[in-house]
């Protein structure tokens, strides 16, 4: 860009996918390909239906509000946003405007972008209902009401973001937050995350703190993937820069555009003067209800440590690499597994190696989650302890790992039943070594302490006789001593 800097604000819509039912309806909140299967009369706005607030959705929204360091309201209200569209059965959407206070206002999010710490202020967070989904064909459209009424969290940031990369890093951070809170899968492939992007550019030498210098806000609607957000921002910055250079920027009106994935461009929708008046007013069918401080306390206590904090801790407290820590915190259940194993008294680096190596590749190959994984933290500790005590070798450890999963038995049981105990008893090893020496006089004669390569051969013989159970280090040490004695 050079002469200009961008000011970017995001409106991130994320479905709450983890409630049993929809936000104002008793229909199932569940993603399904079977159109119009999760619906109740209220989802299609048949005459006489009424909304009933799902307390669980409110709880999750309050949890998100706290995680974003927002203020929570004393009373909960919902408002009607009135407009006509075929995906909106009632002709209004139940949502929350900023007056009365929505589920959260004035928060702040700290996240990481390319190793740098960034901050974005949150203007507000509100709980609303999703609309139905439309599919358009050549001469007709279809409506699927499964999505109508699914709880949706809309987060509105201040324009604190300065680049496409930063915007994507923020969204990835938020996805992780929602996943950690257990309120959403935040899967954009399922259409659970959708964004509107506000972009303007300003001359780099002007004061950023003065809103007059911010330029003209362009809202880009319906950006439905993180890649799309990145591309739409890049496109807008390029487009607006060109307008600046052609001296056309100042005559550009504030407007809403739409992201067109296919052409990779934004397309003019409407100007600010044509903005829809949504005629917000408080939904009279939902009495305002008090959010007790006890309930807020209870919710607060249930918030887990988030990925961002865990990663920091793994690096500073356990000395893990940025790379390892990042992998561990990517999914909360993996991170929880790691932490539980460490809490049992294992070395964090060893646990990280096992988790990020053998365990993740096993889970990926079997396409299962760690909650379905047989080898629990207690067994992982057993396995690590067996190796650390030299009862088995590290190489054997990997075999034990595979056998544990194959036979669904604990590492101890596997080692016992498979006869995999290492022979560390020197008297037993002595006998075997004597045997090997007796049987290989030529090799013994050729032994040269300066060039101990032949030792490998002897160890191989020992392993053969013990079927791999000899502790290699002990065996090697004893063998060396015997050979040296013979030479004297």
């Amino acid at each position: 860009m050079g002469k200009y800097k961008a000011k970017i604000g995001l409106e991130m819509h994320c479905e709450i996918s983890e409630t049993k039912t929809k936000v104002f309806s008793s229909a199932k909140n569940e993603y399904t390909e079977q159109a119009n299967s999760n619906i109740r009369p209220v989802d299609m706005a048949f005459p006489g239906v009424l909304p009933v607030v799902n307390k669980e959705a409110v709880r999750m929204a309050l949890m998100a509000s706290m995680a974003l360091k927002c203020q929570q309201p004393a009373y909960m209200y919902f408002e009607r946003k009135n407009y006509y569209y075929p995906d909106l059965p009632k002709g209004f959407q139940l949502t929350q405007e900023t007056k009365p206070i929505p589920v959260g206002i004035y928060g702040e999010v700290t996240f990481e972008c390319n190793g740098e710490e960034k901050r974005v202020r949150i203007n507000n967070l509100h709980l609303e209902e999703d609309a139905a989904s439309l599919d358009h064909y050549d001469d007709y459209s279809t409506i699927d009401y499964n999505r109508a009424g699914v709880p949706l969290l809309e987060l509105v940031t201040e324009p604190d973001i300065t680049s496409a990369e930063e915007a994507v890093a923020f969204l990835e951070h938020m996805r992780s937050v929602y996943q950690y809170l257990g309120i959403s899968e935040a899967d954009s492939k399922k259409g659970q995350v959708r964004c509107d992007v506000n972009v303007s550019i300003m001359d780099e030498n002007l004061d950023e703190n003065d809103p007059h210098n911010w330029g003209t806000k362009i809202e880009v609607k319906n950006v439905n993937s993180f890649g799309g957000v990145r591309d739409a921002i890049k496109y807008e910055i390029k487009r607006q820069t060109k307008l600046k250079e052609n001296n056309e920027y100042d005559t550009m009106e504030q407007q809403t555009r739409r992201w067109d994935e296919e052409s990779g461009t934004t397309i003019y929708m409407r100007s600010k003067v044509d903005a829809i008046d949504y005629k917000y007013f408080v939904e009279p069918n939902i009495p305002k209800f008090k959010i007790s401080s006890e309930w807020l306390k209870e919710i607060k206590a249930s918030i887990p440590r988030l990925a961002y904090d865990r990663k920091k801790e793994y690096m500073t407290k356990y000395g893990l690499s940025d790379y390892d820590a990042s992998i561990l915190v990517k999914q909360k259940d993996i991170s929880d597994y790691f932490e539980e194993t460490v809490s049992l008294g294992c070395d964090a680096k060893q646990v990280a190696n096992w988790t990020n190596g053998m365990i993740l590749s096993y889970l990926n190959s079997k396409e299962i989650s760690i909650n379905e994984f047989f080898l629990n933290p207690y067994m992982l500790k057993e396995l690590i302890d067996l190796i650390n005590a030299k009862t088995i070798s590290s190489k054997q450890g990997k075999e034990v790992f595979a056998k544990v999963l194959e036979k669904q038995k604990s590492p101890q049981e596997i080692v016992k039943s498979e006869g995999m105990m290492q022979i560390t008893d020197t008297s037993e090893l002595d006998q075997i070594i004597d045997e090997v020496i007796r049987e290989n006089p030529e090799q013994v004669a050729s032994y040269d302490p300066e060039r101990p390569k032949i030792l490998d051969y002897f160890i191989g013989q020992i392993m053969k006789k013990t079927r791999g159970k000899a502790n290699p280090a002990t065996a090697s040490q004893l063998m060396k001593e015997k050979l040296n004695d013979l030479q004297k």
Binding site: F46, R80, F92, D277, F281, P284, N285
Partner: protein, 484 residues
């Protein structure tokens, strides 16, 4: 007519003693339905295949009744008297309908109303004007027009109604019957086609107070489908009617009742007020203290405007689901906007469209503070004024309207000046969600007029009991309309 002029308790006793069967009651009620349909145009649907129901301990079991056509009834046409729903057959019952069904009530017809309840004349339903059974040149008032006409004419002992401004209590007065809307949320609104959600009440029209208590006992109850409903299981309306009213206190509002408020009052208005004062004296003779109180006239005069602003605003939003896309006749057009426009242009009557325009206007962001929010503030002031009265009084007693039923041909009425508050004060009962009951209290020009008692929220039993005692002291209980 052998049975349908009787009260619910009388009919129940006859059913229990097997002096009559449910089938015989239904037969007579259906015959009356067809007769009153011909005479008054009171019904959207007559359910000729209505089936008798087993008579149980429940007072309503086996007895015919009517439902206003904005009650969602499973497998039965429910139009709200609107062309937008002219063929709409719901697949679910309103909660109140389920409760009546469970009590053993037999539905014999769906009654005509002003379109979606948005009118007070009974003239705007899509099936045409409802005529007053006392005088076919006069209106029933509305919006529960068909229910009022049918109960007054003796089609059955009761029909349900709904009341957003006075839609039960005004037609009750014009038709000489009892109209009762209980406290907001006592009866679930689930399945009632909404007009203005914060003002909408379900209720009932009967020919005596006890019947009203019996029916609402059956309809009420907390409902998981309506967050504004509340648990009234401790309230037993019928059982609490003992007629003991000595020491009760009522008040009437000088700024509404005093003739000096009206410039050159007509003879009818004078008579109406005089008749009301007679009722007041009657109350006193029953041992009820009645006092005149004063309420700020400016505040009272604001009531009709507050009602228009709030009810139209909520209505325009509530009826945005009527697009012809999911239900109702599909509109014609090249795109969804044209289709919706066509559906709504053809479907709604001009009166409703006018109210939608008002509703949209007052909600627009540049107007909302001046109109909608101010209306909500004044609503609160009016409710507070009435709540203040309830600190001292069991209820407010006031005349209903400015006289008897108006002519359908408006040019025949002498309109008194400045009677808006007299015509519209019942709205305050909706603003506050107060229990409110109208009972007949006399005749003017051979036509019935009514008196209203409104009490504090949750005090339904007390309000009904006062009405019950007063009704007993007058001659209009159980009256059937006679053509004048």
């Amino acid at each position: 007519m052998k049975y349908m002029n009787k009260s619910i308790e009388e009919l129940h006793e006859m059913l229990v003693k097997k002096e009559v069967t449910s089938a015989e009651l239904i037969k007579e009620s259906l015959e009356m339905s067809h007769k009153i349909q011909d005479e008054c145009n009171a019904f959207v649907t007559i359910l000729d295949d209505a089936q008798p129901v087993e008579v149980t301990d429940n007072l309503l079991s086996g007895i015919p009744c009517g439902l206003k056509d904005n009650y969602s009834t499973k497998d039965i046409l429910s139009t709200g008297s609107s062309n937008t729903l002219k063929d709409y057959v719901p697949f679910f019952d309103a909660t109140a309908v389920s409760k009546l069904k469970a009590a053993g009530a037999v539905f014999v017809n769906k009654t005509v109303m002003d379109e979606f309840g948005m009118g007070g004349t009974g003239t705007t339903g899509h099936t045409g004007t409802v005529l007053n059974p006392w005088d076919k040149t006069r209106m029933t008032a509305g919006s529960s027009a068909g229910s009022a006409a049918a109960v007054a004419a003796g089609v059955y002992p009761y029909a349900t109604g709904s009341d957003t401004g006075d839609s039960i209590r005004k037609p009750a007065a014009y038709c000489g019957i009892v109209g009762y809307k209980p406290t907001y949320g006592m009866i679930s609104r689930y399945g009632l086609f909404p007009f203005a959600s914060s003002l909408d009440h379900l209720g009932v029209m009967t020919r005596n107070v006890k019947d009203a208590a019996i029916v609402v006992d059956a309809m009420k109850g907390i409902d998981k489908n309506d967050m504004t409903s509340w648990d009234s299981s401790h309230i037993h309306l019928r059982e609490s009617l003992d007629g003991k009213v000595k020491g009760k206190k009522l008040c009437y509002v000088k700024e509404i009742v005093d003739l000096s408020n009206y410039e050159n009052p007509s003879a009818e208005l004078k008579e109406h007020i005089a008749n009301f004062m007679k009722t007041v004296e009657l109350c006193k003779s029953l041992g009820i203290e009645v006092e005149e109180v004063s309420v700020d006239k400016t505040l009272l005069n604001a009531s009709p405007a507050v009602y228009v602003v709030i009810s139209c605003a909520e209505a325009t939003s509530n009826m945005s689901n009527l697009t012809g896309i999911i239900f109702g006749p599909r509109g014609q057009g090249d795109n969804y906007i044209e289709m919706m426009k066509d559906h709504r242009t053809k479907g709604f009557s001009p009166l409703i469209k006018r109210r939608f325009v008002i509703g949209s206007y007052v909600l627009q962001s540049q107007n909302q503070e001046r109109y909608f929010r101010n209306a909500q503030r004044v609503r609160r002031l009016l409710v507070d004024a009435w709540k203040d009265l309830f600190k001292k009084y069991d209820g407010v007693i006031l005349p209903v309207g400015s006289g008897p039923a108006k002519h359908l041909d408006g040019s025949k009425d002498i309109l008194d000046k400045d009677t808006a508050v007299l015509e519209e004060h019942l709205q305050i009962g909706n603003f506050g969600g107060f229990p409110s009951i109208t009972i007949p209290n006399g005749f003017i020009s051979n036509l019935p007029v009514g008196v209203n008692i409104t009490g504090n929220c949750y005090d339904d039993a007390n309000v009904l009991n006062i009405a019950y005692a007063l009704e007993e002291a007058m001659d209009y209980k159980n009256q059937i309309a006679k053509e004048v």
